[in-house]
Amino acid sequence: MTDLTALTIAEASNALKKRAFSARELTDAYLAAIEGANGDLNAYVAVTPDKARAMAEASDLRLARNEGRALEGIPLGIKDLFATEGVHTQACSHILHGFLPRYESTVTSNLWRDGAVMLGKLNMDEFAMGSSNETSWYGPVKNPWRAHGSNLDLVPGGSSGGSAAAVAARLCAGATATDTGGSIRQPAAFTGTVGIKPTYGRCSRWGIVAFASSLDQAGPIARDVRDAAILLKSMASSDEKDTTSADLAVPDYEAALGKSVKGMKIGIPREYRVEGMPDEIEALWQKGIAWLRDAGAEIDEISLPHTKYALPAYYIVAPAEASSNLARYDGVRYGLRVPGRDIIDMYEKTRAAGFGREVKRRVMIGTYVLSAGYYDAYYLKAQKVRTLIKRDFERVFADGVSAILTPATPSAAFGIADQDMAADPVKMYLNDIFTVTVNMAGLPGIAVPAGLDGRGLPLGLQLIGRPFEEETLFQTAHVIEQAAGRFSPERWW
């Protein structure tokens, strides 16, 4: 029998329906792959073999009755940010030590409702704060990709580094992820996988550990565009438990694949040509433009003049919201408690021991920019800049642009424990320079692999769409995928 973990979700679903193999066999193949690889890659922080096998066996009963649902028997990995009932949920932070939720997030409930199987919880940057998966309490994830002739360990990106690495290394058929400033798209680009951050409000945030509530969105990371479309259809919903979730029917995203992009206007923003960007990224971008033009799309140079201010505004808005959201970790209701001489001392010691350096930094920045006397200068100003960023996009969409093509990241994956990034937090933040605008404006964005650099590392392109027009992104990303092909790492682990 062929290696079952090599199949995409679409392929595995077809084979399961034809009983070419059982859901139990598929799940066992993934559990064996995790067993063989996780010691090296550290993609999973908790594996749930008993639960996985029980869910797979339930799927086999359904399949035997021809009652298989959209994701029947498909084994998935879940980012540690999603609350999963009775299963390890810590946002990869020490402060949530031992936390076992008594409820299930809406997004994961939707996946189980459609028959998916849970393999376990995936590593991530602590509270989704990071671009390299190095801020996790559980240690860094290794990227399954290495440069030609090198055995240097690379980061998988972040914060959804475990999700991206697990999908690329075939340790799950697909994964859930979340994106506050680029945390789905940057790791997807670093691992040769497809990741989509849908429009703000498309997926319910209920049961997802909150980082920055006006920016956070869930989405899938998958092997290809079709699988991403299949997963998003299940993950997305309108949810009474999240008042910001959109009251819109979820379309059949997969149906958008294969539709022609002839005559579609694609915008190329000149502000995304940043100083110091490697030639290979520029060349990849040009290749993407050529593929879409060859497919009949109309290519228009556009301007998004406030692009460069998105990242600084983000580093006010996101920490401000985080400082408020993370106030709940106080050693009283869940997780870690470090005793103190009084209640304030207990709070301060608990938070000092429970939060890692990056999280403390952001909570401190957020507390500072919201503190008396600084609110107008920082937070209010950043929210005004955010309005301007959104207007930039609205203007080009009003001019008839259907999607915007940009590079996904300013570089390929970098080394674990990179000295430059460790010395200067802003260097790490610059990873999100092309992705963060999308969160600030609440728009959908997809990262799709488009080629390899000279060292053999994957590079991705990003497509940005109009609100709730994810179908256009799947349709266009599929054209790029058809032209670029798919990319898998060579196994070294």
């Binding site: 201010y309 909570v363 500072y368 200068a377 929210q383 005004k384 309005t387 301007l388």
Partner: protein
């Protein structure tokens, strides 16, 4: 604007994070780097611009003023470090 150790310690106390002098010193450097980076926003003219309050053009939903959940005291305290009969236990705050 740049922050000194005194400010860092004040903010740390507001954020309820214990910091020793070494931590505070290092944190001051890091915060100043970040605040220096966000200073770029001073270049932007925001006169007459409304601050964003909702990223999506939608009305915040209302729901029926009805009890829809509850009776879960055991679930709520299940993860607490210290409890007594469905109450959270904390160090004494009132003499």
């Amino acid at each position: 604007m740049s922050v000194d150790i005194h400010t860092v310690k004040r903010v740390a106390h507001l954020a309820r994070i214990a910091l020793d002098d070494d931590d505070a010193d290092r944190m001051a450097g890091e915060l100043n780097t970040i605040l220096g980076f966000v200073q770029q926003l001073d270049e932007v003219d925001v006169a007459g611009v409304e601050p964003m309050t909702s990223v999506a053009p939608m009305k915040l939903k209302m729901r029926q003023d009805a009890v829809t959940d509850g009776g879960k005291a055991m679930d709520i305290v299940a993860n607490a470090p210290a409890t007594d009969e469905n109450f959270f236990l904390v160090p004494k705050v009132v003499e």
